[in-house]
Point group: D2
Chain length 279, copies 4
């Protein structure tokens, strides 16, 4: 391949492989990396969560975190965009407008996720077989071990101006696509709903449902949309935010295309406005 | 049917029908009710959660709450046993030994459940169709509206000696059987694990896994077992307890049989020691 | 609704309702009916398979059978097009080019179908519940009772110039979308494959795989494509033709749109070239 | 392991491994082999279907074919019993009583099977992943290539006293357990039904439904039962026989236990009368 002739490449590689490749690509080629190599800006954090030193630390500061709605301007001018984790995207859409708002208790945030199986890709592991997964429900990486926590720590601490750590438990449920995040916070439900509505008012892909209505995975499967809902609880001051998206669209390749559109000066929503597929 | 000739009847009726029937049965017939009619002892609480006055309030005080491991002696002597809700059983197994122990913060308990579809029985509702459920994941009765909260309030407040309210969100996931409860508490994970192990040491159906191991629905599907696991979090003082059981066995009919065994003087585990079915 | 102002209407109604409506619509409105009311041209055949006399028999001769690839010219000029049954479409794509060809034994044709559950729509029947279907496989309308046999009889007899009857058994399998028809015929596999390839050489939606390769439902799910494959058998003269399509696309609404495109003078493939959705 | 101290061993090994092991076991140990190594009595046939010479051809004549209901006496006295293929069992229950009866055309038998995924065991193949199988339906080994054809050829030819070959196409459908065989024959449906009823009149595990009723996988899942049904067709002389069993029970390990019971002089049904699991 004559990479020099290309405007932009998508890299969808096992974690760890992009960092070696990107540094050898011509500077004229824009890169959207769908893997984890450039999500964390701090080499120490990368090594902590991925278990090895980064091979291109000089490129880490240059990479733009690919959560389009919050890094749109930087992405437009970026040479290298790091696609976010699919869990990381789902939860951040629920929380980012709230982190610096004073509306929620930053020390008591809990995200419980229900994840479709395609998040694991096509890796040949026994626990990914049809017979193992089709009638099972189970958590994994519980207790603060999942790598996407590195992204939460980086982004939420940056927004808050001080260290923020959340609790995060993903679960595997037998659907192919989709993530449903139940995010539990302490704060006023009405104010939280209003803050999300205001934050996403003009966004083509982020839909905040009317107060008290909560979305389901089937509302977004096959599309690039993320649906959000907010409700209070019978216990005062407790709020549930539900965020759902299709991990293979808005959670990875849809996001990548959205970012590539920006980087190439195309309309941001081009090729991405397809309706969900049901059933 | 000549009910007077029977030792014991199981009632598996839509909510509200048992109360009218039980009061007309001969006193010599023991009753295991699998419905919700006698789970709450307080007529006001029944009316609050079920939307209508109880038709046999004089029988409510007599009914024994059917969570076998905690009401075993009373069940043995009972005439009327009220089977618990399936969600209510799953979460109580995770929490009861902790409520009066001082080990956890009683004002900050959160249970996020993933429920198989058979919990809804065979009711003909559009959202129970294969095409609606097979690729969807969604919560329901969020924000403190689910009827099983009445059972939690009654039991936990009784144990604590003061009002206790928990947060509780059930979700539908596309498996037929099984409930996985992720119960988040504040307290020391090691002490919590030790307390559960001690509480269930001699129990034939309640299995506490080694510290840090967490169970999956497939470990119990088709059996009368409930598996429990405990892990800490990277955030100090946060603990995740996972409890899982088969809603059609330990969550309803297995429990009913276990109670009937006790009421009839049979071995408690008779007919109930079958292994899980996998896959 | 001012129907007179419309160019074309789609009717997706329970069987039996279209016939009453169409006769009252202004003649200027073109109609694509997705139901069964106008699939059979012979009032006696309609009554035989649907159990009641047709209410608009004067319109039956006018209706064009909506299997686009075989009625293209008539559809272009039609006022009323009758969408085919989804099973009927799947099997006809496998057999139509062979019926008048002399290549197969017309008295020994057998189609065994595996059907996704969405074929039943959203009707509230107990056997359509998730818990009933998710772990079951079962045939239905076996032995020559399924209504789509009326379409086979009409079309194949017309093509052959003499009565032709096939065996046809549909089965429900727990997927939402898709029909896989295993069509067993007697004739030379190579010649049959060549005939299908020749017949569909220029067709945008009908893809004949190389000889010996057989398609799967996942190859077409979510798209308007129909994939076909042919293989021989170790027993000489026996041939298996596999035809698969998405019953909600090429089997009904995709076909309807394809026909509407023709009726309105639009490009036939407009809005229909989307790739399959996987997984 | 001191094999000499054992009465009986079950061998559940990848194909090819049992033959080397059995010849080294003490003659006093009875063997039930769940694999394919001793299903075929003819070394040439073994090599044809399994692609390599048999390593213990001297043991092949001794092995008894493990289809209990038809080899019961020989199994009782056997030292080595070869468990049948799961497809082979399902289809043979539909056909064996008919092969020598003159009731059906032996040269025109077709079996179309719908198979649960557990038939493939836990092998790590991409096409066994949840994401590949959960929304797909596809045939495999079509056209007379499946190894179980060796068993059909051996058994049906023996029964008929002349070579008999059938057509056989298995398909994968997304359930864990169960095989549904739709077996198409030419012969009188009433006579065929009567022959099956007579043949299985006293059999504890083989249930022939009333004429015209056809079974479903869910009727047998989790049990050792095989259900059979027969119906005619609108075309005279065509008959559909449906046979269904749980491949992990009656199709393999249930059959193995049934045979071991016989070999050890225990009641044949011991441990095997459990009801199906639903849902």
């Amino acid at each position: 391949v004559d990479f020099g002739a290309l405007d932009l490449v998508f890299l969808a590689l096992p974690h760890g492989l992009s960092q070696a490749i990107v540094k050898d690509l011509p500077r004229s080629v824009k890169v959207v990396d769908l893997g984890a190599d450039f999500r964390l800006r701090d080499p120490a954090m990368y090594e902590k969560w991925y278990g090895q030193p980064h091979q291109a630390p000089e490129l880490q500061p240059e990479a733009v975190y690919g959560l389009t709605e919050f890094y749109r301007d930087a992405i437009r001018d970026a040479r290298l965009v790091a696609g976010t984790g699919c869990n990381a995207a789902t939860v951040q859409f629920a929380l980012r407008p709230l982190i610096g708002s004073g509306l929620i208790d930053l020390d008591d945030i809990l995200a419980d996720l229900k994840n479709g199986i395609s998040g694991a890709g096509r890796s040949l592991k026994e626990n990914m077989l049809f017979t193992e997964r089709s009638t099972d429900v189970a958590g994994y990486a519980q207790g603060g071990k999942h790598r996407h926590l590195g992204e939460f720590d980086q982004e939420f601490s940056l927004l808050a101006g001080r260290p923020v750590q959340i609790q995060f438990t993903p679960h595997l449920v037998p659907v192919n696509r989709g993530i449903l995040a139940s995010v539990y916070v302490k704060g006023d439900a009405g104010a939280i709903h209003a803050a999300l509505q205001a934050a996403y008012a003009g966004e083509p892909f982020l839909q905040v449902l009317p107060f008290g209505q909560l979305p389901a995975v089937a509302h977004v499967t096959g599309s690039n949309f993320c649906h959000l809902g907010v409700t209070g609880d019978r216990i005062n001051g407790r709020t549930l935010i539900v965020s759902t998206l299709d991990n293979l669209n808005k959670g990875s390749s849809g996001q990548a295309l959205q970012n590539a559109n920006l980087m190439l000066g195309l309309p941001e929503t081009q090729g991405l406005m397809g309706a969900p597929v049901f059933p």
